[in-house]
Amino acid sequence: MQVEGIWRPVPPEQRAFGWAVRELRARRWMSQEGLGFEAGLHRNYVGALERGEINPTLRTMLRLVRGLGMPLSEIVAVYERHLGDGGR
């Protein structure tokens, strides 16, 4: 997460996860605010997550995928594709 003037490099896995969330959200024509409402997260949190600034817990990831209305395996498949390395 970005903390007042401290820049931290975004880990590639986190970035890939954020991209996956953004792709799946956009495919459904949902706004960040709409996804936040469905998942019970703040729209700022959704935005930061998509930029890869957030390291979500398992339960938060589950809230996200349920907000998107899909099983966890689907988002993981997109994540692996974005990571491009077979996910290893």
């Binding site: 896995e13 390291n55 398992l58 809230r63 099983p71």
Partner: protein, 134 residues
Amino acid sequence: MSGTLAMAGGSGVSPYAGSSDLVALGRAVRELRELRGVPQTAVGFDAGVGDFYVGGVERGRLNPTFAVLVRVLRTLRCPPGELVARYERHLAVIDPHAGAEISACPTPEALAHVASFNARMATWRAAQARRRGR
């Protein structure tokens, strides 16, 4: 945040301890680790968390973060898809109705955790007030 709590020597248990999601994930991680024949200590060391953390995840007591899961998977040389497949299989066994909605909180363990936290906060506040009063 539960990771931080565990590191800080708090009660070290997620408020979601024992929920079907975490238990299913724990069983999936244990299954994978035993398949590879790696001890908890080794996984904890490689993943940069304590072995108590791996044990906590396997027992469904901790709510691990994405970064920890990624590191554990790298240690186990396992693609995330495989872990998720196992997780979903275990979840279907534990809680067939899971998936539609995530419960806000709930297990008796979680409520006990919150109660103990509140009690500790109350004693701490009382101590602060006494110190300020003096």
